[in-house]
Amino acid sequence: MFRFILAKLVRAFLTILLVVTFAFIVLRMSGDPAQIMLGPDAPQDAVDAFRARWGLDDPLWQQYLAYLQQILSFDFGVSMRDQSPAIKLVLERIPATLALTIPALILKLCIGIPAGVYAALHRQSVADRGVIMASIFGFTIPSFVLGLVLVLIFAVTLDWLPSGGQDSWRHAILPIATLSIGGIGILARFSRSAMIEVLGQPYIRTAMAKGLPWRDVVWRHALPNAAVPIVTLVGFMVGSLIAGAVVVESIFSWPGVGRLIVVSVANRDLAVVQCLLLVIAASMVMANLLVDFAYGLLDPRLRAKPAAH
């Protein structure tokens, strides 16, 4: 068991290292931070000073090694813009993002899964068709379109809700709705097919032949089995709690992580972008680890105990 966890952690660490390296190289190949930060009309000596200040004149590999050394000692650098620690900037923004993504995730789970399961249990019914139609609608409309449509309807035309900002809970309603609708659709669709697959399995027939009431067949035998594939998708959604709202935050001017990404990338604020990517990668990897452990809990076959013959 210990070796299993260790192997998983090593793999997680390598994934993060890969992301960080990739980000490091791409960021430095795609434009000069000094030029962008100081503007096109900045005097040459100011640009030179800026470069020297941030070590941009060193060879790339030296910068990279220095950077690795830094992050290994949990020093994530300071923002080129206002000199505050990058990690602080990032952590400051996370609560705002989670204030959108966590309620959205809860909505996805509480609406998507039951809708999908209900549709699977009432196949070919009107409700089933309704769920299929609605879910296709949900996940085919891009969030920037959906967001704008919602603003148009509820903020501009009906004037029920604010179109942007973060002043009260009412400001969060439209962004949360925009975020959750697509996920509800995907999850409903996915839960439906997972459930249909499970309901066709021989052990469901066994449970029925046993005389178990249908309700118990569904709750005790079908749902625990259907949970295994659903958890994969939910894990992915948990992984994108931090980074999944970039577009929506931009539409609704919500000051979360997503906005920070957009601004920092535009400014080539290297330390902040790198720190952001590190945090996002870490959250994704963590979610993956959780999914792996959830598999073990849900499905004894994946625990791979030596068979007892």
């Binding site: 399995q201 021989p202 052990y203 027939r205 066994t206 449970a207 029925m208 032949a209 046993k210 005389g211 178990l212 009431p213 249908w214 005790r220 035998h221 625990p224 089995n225 295994v228 849900l298 499905d299 004894p300 076959r301 105990k305 068979a307 007892a308 013959h309």
Partner: protein
């Protein structure tokens, strides 16, 4: 009086009829085989009787259990019969058990449902049942999951689960087909042992005539959704009256005979959506005539015993003669 009585049972899927009126009686404690090739409707008969077919199936006719009608009965009523009066086990034991639930719990579930046993009492009974069906070291293995058992042991667990409700009738749907030869023999032995001990009736559904004859007193042969012949095992094998039964018996290679050419039944099973007008077996039958092509024969009692649906049944002495001819050939 018959304990379970099936009358004119008909089943259709999406308008295609797959069962064309089955009549069958099962007496208390009787063991009857249901024989036929894939798609002949032998499993559908019992899934229909217990209301286990998918919703799109149209079921008509009557199945009574001690006079109580099962076809069209409300779900709650069927749920009280399933497992308690009539239990069923299936072909693929490994996938017929819930993979994410411990086997002890799956057996215990039946005990709770039908005998109200819980907790330590239920656990003791689960252990007794596991012992009874021959799972070694049940104490240690009661909390294992199905994938930790071999196919043969999974079938034993299925049998234990079926016995948990103390049913009057066990439907065994191809219970040995997925198992290896030596394990098949173990399960057949177990089933006939249990029957001796409990006196429960058994319906043994199989395409394997050998396996059927090992555990049954009587057998019904099915073809294309109809019973074509019923007789006691000995007579059925010694003197098959329906040409299809005879063909099936001849098609099985004989382990004791020399390497004679096999005698297959030519052609293939008809598509249920495009059945021939008359006798469904006529196109493959060496004895068919114009009459067979136009009219379907009814099941009729034979003077030598048994019932057969054929206009030109094979006479007992003819069977003996043709078998003799085979030996000479």
């Amino acid at each position: 009086m018959a304990f379970v009585s099936i009358r004119d049972l008909r089943v259709a899927f999406d308008g295609v009829r797959v069962l064309h009126g089955i009549d069958l009686d099962i007496g208390k404690g009787e063991a009857i085989g249901l024989v036929g090739e894939s798609g002949c409707g032998k499993s559908v008969t019992w899934l229909a009787a217990l209301g286990l077919l998918p919703g799109k199936a149209r079921v008509e006719g009557s199945v009574t259990l001690d006079g109580q009608q099962l076809i069209g009965a409300p779900r709650s009523q069927l749920e009280q019969i399933r497992g308690a009066r009539i239990a069923m086990i299936f072909q693929d034991p490994s996938s017929s058990l819930n993979p994410v639930q411990r086997v002890g719990r799956q057996i215990g579930e039946s005990l709770r449902l039908h005998r109200g046993l819980r907790g330590a009492q239920a656990r003791t009974e689960v252990l007794r049942l596991m012992d009874m069906v021959g799972i070694p070291d049940a104490k240690r293995r009661i909390d294992l999951y199905p994938h930790e058992f071999s196919g043969g042991q999974c079938q034993r667990i299925m049998i234990a689960m079926a016995l948990a409700g103390q049913p009057d009738l066990l439907i065994a749907d191809e219970p040995t087909t997925a198992l290896d030869a030596t394990i098949q023999a173990q399960i057949l032995e177990l089933l006939s042992g249990i029957r001796r001990e409990t006196g429960m009736a058994l319906v043994f559904i199989s395409h394997d005539l050998g396996a059927v004859s090992a555990v049954c007193d009587r057998a019904a042969v099915m073809y294309a959704g109809r019973i074509v012949e019923t007789n006691d095992i000995r007579s059925l094998f010694a003197a098959p009256a329906h040409p299809y039964t005879q063909g099936l018996l001849r098609a099985i290679p004989d382990i004791d005979a020399s390497r004679a050419r096999l005698v297959p039944i030519e052609g293939t099973v008809p598509d249920p959506a495009a059945l021939p007008t008359g006798c469904a077996f006529a196109p493959r039958c060496p004895r068919n005539s114009q009459l067979c092509q136009n009219y379907a024969p009814d099941l009729k009692p034979q003077s030598a015993g048994g019932v057969v649906s054929c206009f030109y049944p094979v006479e007992a002495d003819q069977t003996a003669m043709s078998q003799r001819q085979e030996v000479w050939a």
